[in-house]
């Protein structure tokens, strides 16, 4: 896809990002992400969908600063990203909660131990109480992660990222490990906490990775659709569904149309990723 001129107001911009891996044993190089350019606006909720292995998690990891791109630049507010920082919070797929810290200690981890501007005990307490309240974990503050249900762990990880007060929230398939009902509930919760009814400049910028097309359409302002081999952005689809959104949106024809349009686009890649090249002909 062609490089788009960067509007100066882009919160995060990726310019011609490429990432290759070297498999240690064989020495082969794999192109995971190829020439991806993407602009994410302040307050935008962007979902990236694509079949497994299309490099969508790699993109998130590069925005987080945990992985360096092989070529290209990523910048936030016009400054190049060189490493992880508190202005970009991450919610990991497997939550990555510290097993030896309670819910409260996990949530206060960033404000307490971060290098820049850590908070005093009193300020921390107030902040953490607020976020525990926000994700409805009251009563479970002193439990350890292994004592929580999957949905509670997810909310704890979410609160941990929020409590560090980042500008941008990066979420890597955060609901993938949950059962279907919990996922539906947490999707609505996520929109509520994000602040759907707030004006754009007050909202957090969110980059949300998922392989669920309906999840992406339900949550996003815009969906970036990725394809396999190599990982590229095939299409960027604005989602014009009105906000605030609730369960009812899923039943509208607009919603169904958008889901179907995206599915048709990645169908081929998804089949290939699932059952291999031989399966495609039959499909």
């Amino acid at each position: 896809m062609e490089t788009v001129a960067i509007p100066t107001k882009a919160k995060i911009s990726l310019i011609a990002i490429t990432k290759q891996y070297i498999t240690p044993r064989t020495g082969q190089t794999t192109l995971a992400v190829s020439d991806v350019s993407l602009n994410i606006q302040q307050g935008e909720f962007l979902c990236i969908v694509g079949p497994s292995g299309c490099g969508k998690s790699t993109i998130l990891s590069m925005i987080a600063g945990l992985t360096k791109p092989s070529s290209g630049t990523i910048s936030m507010d016009g400054n190049a990203i060189h490493g992880p920082g508190r202005e970009r919070g991450v919610v990991f797929q497997d939550y990555a909660l510290f097993p030896w810290k309670t819910v409260r200690e996990n949530i206060e981890f960033g404000p307490r131990f971060r290098d820049r501007a850590p908070l005093s005990t009193a300020a921390r307490r107030e902040l953490v109480d607020h976020y525990i309240e926000l994700v409805s974990l009251n009563g479970s503050e002193d439990k350890y992660p292994h004592e929580l249900s999957g949905g509670m762990r997810q909310r704890c990880a979410f609160a941990r990222a929020l409590a560090n007060e980042p500008d941008v929230l990066l979420m890597d398939e955060p609901f993938a490990a949950l059962d279907a009902q919990t996922r539906l509930i947490l999707q609505e919760e996520l929109l509520r906490i994000w602040g759907e009814e707030l004006p754009r400049d007050k909202r957090k910028t969110v980059v949300f990775i998922t392989h669920g097309i309906d999840e992406a359409v339900f949550l996003a302002d815009r969906v970036a659709v990725m394809s396999n081999h190599p990982g590229q952005i095939k299409m960027e689809k604005p989602i014009g569904l009105p906000r605030p959104r609730n369960e009812g949106v899923r039943l509208t024809t607009d919603f169904q149309k958008l889901v179907d349009e995206i599915w048709q686009l990645i169908r081929h890649d998804a089949y290939e990723a699932t059952i291999g090249k031989a399966g495609i002909k039959q499909a």
């Binding site: 987080a64 600063g65 945990l66 490493g83 992880p84 920082g85 508190r86 970009r88 919070g89 991450v90 990991f92 497997d94 990555a96 510290f98 097993p99 030896w100 810290k101 981890f109 960033g110 131990f113 971060r114 290098d115 820049r116 350890y144 992660p145 292994h146 941990r160 990222a161 560090n164 990066l170």
Partner: protein, 256 residues
Amino acid sequence: MALSRRFLPFVLPLALLILWQAGVSTLQPGPRTPTPGSVVSTAWSLISTGQLPLAMILSLGRVLTGFVSAAVCAILIGFLMAVSPSIGRNLDPLMESFRPIAPIALLPLAILWFGTGTSAAAFIVGYAAFFPILINTIQGVRSIDPSLPRAARTLGVGLPAIIRNVILPGALPNIFVGARLGLGLAWSSIIAAELAVGAKTGDAGSGGIGQMMFVFYAYSVDLSGIIVCMIAVGVVALVIDRGLRAVEKRLLPWKQ
């Protein structure tokens, strides 16, 4: 049924005790042959005169000296080896070469270097405890889920705080396992060290439970005394093991 089940655990130990007593009284091999009764009375006199507790304290003191210094070194080196691949790679051959050498085999050398006193025993004990702690520390650091330090970095947390709050607590369960194994090995090596020192220098040495056993063996020919010492050794080993498990449970409440 349930009642007879409850008695099952006592059957074999009791049967052996009865067999022992019956064997001695029918065969009557000699006045020095220990019986359950003579063991109990010897135990009582050794405890009431303070001999046994004193020897025990001496041995435990040596074990603690050796163990603590070994633990400090092993945790430090293990940490460095696990965190830095280049240090790990270069020290690994050395560690793997020394690990198979049984600690007792170094006893003659320790006697040459340190004489027959406390330092030789502490050296052997330290050597015995070092490798289990080292290996479990390395294992512990390496087993930490890599997404945890990643998560800490995305929260803007720096390396020193990550080491203190992520790497160290993550490795702690394994370090505990290593310490428990190391302390157990240290305790059985102290017995060997003291026994051998007693055996080779031909005197009672300076106390210690192993030397006490040697004195009973070589001079007073007191088999009941030897058995009392053996039981004491077992009790201490058991207390060490259960005690450390309890501490582990208290200190690591996040482990199920």
